[in-house]
Symmetry: C2
Subunit: 338 residues, 2 copies
DNA sequence: TTGAAAGCGCTAACAC
DNA sequence: GTGTTAGCGCTTTCAA
């Protein structure tokens, strides 16, 4: 029975195997420069002693950590209420652990300063950023530190690095076009925050679809929400109060669509006969409402996985093309409510 | 403009401030043994150089990492589809970051071996475990390694460490008692997996409530699910096929309750007039179904936060009472469907 | 192919 | 109070 805290070190393994310290290190790291014989001896000693390399020591000399950070610039509240993040994290987690690395999660609500200190090449090998607001300089800052960075979502201006986005414009266009095709004329929208790429792009898609259909855009039919259910509820209420003649709503995410549904029910409006609803960001929530919501599905899992893979490529890559990017397709899922 | 990779070291700060290396270290670590004057000088140098301590080096000598791991023994699929985890992670994340530590997330679907290697005192200061299955020996193993451990949920037999659980038995009892009070006589249950504490306890609560009401327990009215929506759907279908006379269902979580709702609708049964439904694990999902679900709410946030706090106490504590535990109360939330 | 030696950047024990 | 010193456990030249 060894003392719990005293884990065996490299030297102990070396002594046990009757070789030098360097040789053990080579075996551990899979160097081909070792004879089959000694390798076996070392591996045996490792097994017997239950040796596990000390990552801190290794990181100190290699200047790598085998860890990557995922920064979510959002309150915990939203991160977990919005199904979008679940999908992205799932994808990222899969991609990162498939590469044998550790994922360090950092929720950055508001204050980024402490985080900024943590995000250095000494602590993590790379950084994934999601749900950026406004023109956040953080990603570009990290890049100047020499840290590989991949963004999820449309990058802020001034950012010249890698990113993966989904086709928000196209998705919104498809959602609104669907409403148009169903004969709707007075189509309102509950948009996302104007300081976020996703919010801007979905609004742009809404406008493009109206224009394509030859419908006039009525600014009064556009209300800004913050992607939360209550904001959708409030937006829909005010929309109904001022424009009871509207016959359809495009909500920039599923949570707001659900809020809208509640406001509609509250006002005694029939869905979809009277007012049709289409949301964005398809999640389990969309299925359990009554009637179920038609939504635009974005490939969140693939987005996460893609981000992880891109980052790993940047990390191990010979500092190649750091401007890589991808835009994933979105897809309309039609259900009863429209 | 300094080279991006060459971050300043302690010695450079020391030189700049005109003091010794040890002094800088004391300032960084907030030792009171430093004169106001030199402290100021050092802080200035730190600011000017943009010095950030190298955590790997520090961890190497202090043998602490300031990181704690959260191990979720569940597939990514379930971790993110089940709102329970969102709440727990939110609570944990809040507690951990409030203590200035990093949370390292590890999803352990099935294979635990690689993880087991990672979870050593050299890599993390402590471990949080959630959603254990069967009699998993992992927590006890970690404890013998001298690693502080806190469990979420009822501990497996043989575990003698700290944990936080919620009152699953009491909650289930309350849910079923509510059904009884509404005059229901043939109350079925869709239970959780029998290899999980939560599954067992909620089933026990169901039984206790029936017994307390003087109702006979019919084994045929008990169907085992796996906490997923489809399992709830299938369970309800088979229940309806064999026992169309049932007048209420208690589902061991919200997802399965939603599945049950779908099966009921599919079969043309009226909810709650014909068949009343009560679920467990109140989440946003419960509110958006039609009719909304009555459910038993467990304080998931507090559970997470409590776990984090307990762990931090164990870590910094003088190795005091490691058998600490808490059982948090659950609460019935009555909505239209029962 | 392998051993020996030189640090990586930091903290802590010890002098002053 | 503060400087100096000795490692923490590892990788990586550099010789042999």
């Amino acid at each position: 029975m060894t003392a719990p805290t005293d884990r065996p070190t490299l030297d102990q393994v070396a002594e046990r195997a009757g070789v030098g310290r360097g040789t053990v290190s080579r075996v551990i790291n899979g160097s081909p420069q070792v004879s089959e014989h000694t390798r076996r001896a070392v591996e045996e000693a490792v097994a017997e002693l239950g040796y596990v390399p000390n990552l801190a020591a290794r990181a100190l000399v290699t200047r790598r950590t085998d860890a990557v950070a995922l920064v979510i610039s959002e309150s915990e509240e939203r991160v977990f209420s919005e199904p979008f993040f679940a999908g992205v994290v799932r994808g990222i987690s899969a991609g990162v652990s498939a590469a044998g690395r550790q994922l360090v999660l950092a929720l950055a609500a508001g204050e980024e300063r402490p985080l900024e200190r943590y995000l250095t090449p000494q602590h993590v090998d790379g950084v994934l950023l999601v749900s950026l607001h406004g023109d956040d300089p953080l990603p570009e800052l990290l890049r100047t530190r020499g840290l590989p960075v991949v963004l999820g979502g449309r990058p802020p201006s001034g950012y010249g690095g890698a990113y993966i986005d989904v086709d928000n414009v196209g998705g919104a266009k498809a959602g609104v076009a669907h409403l148009v095709a169903r004969g709707r004329k007075r189509i309102a929208t509950i948009s996302g925050p104007h300081d976020m790429g996703a919010g801007q792009d979905r609004l742009a898609g809404y406008r493009a679809a109206l224009a394509a259909a030859g419908l006039d855009e009525d600014p009064a039919l556009v209300v800004e929400g913050d992607f939360s259910e209550v904001s959708g509820l409030q937006a829909m209420r005010s929309l109904l109060a001022c424009h009871p003649d509207l016959d359809a709503v495009f909500a920039a995410n599923d949570l707001m669509a659900i809020g809208a549904l509640r406001a509609l029910r509250e006002a005694g409006r029939q869905v979809p006969e009277d007012v049709a609803v289409v949301g964005f960001d398809d999640s389990p929530l969309s299925r359990v409402t009554e009637p179920p919501l038609s939504t635009v599905r974005q490939p969140v899992d693939e987005m996460g996985r893609g981000m992880a893979e891109m980052l790993l490529r940047l990390i191990s890559g010979a500092d190649g093309d750091t401007h890589e990017y991808a835009v994933l397709p979105t897809e309309l899922v039609v259900r009863a409510s429209s």
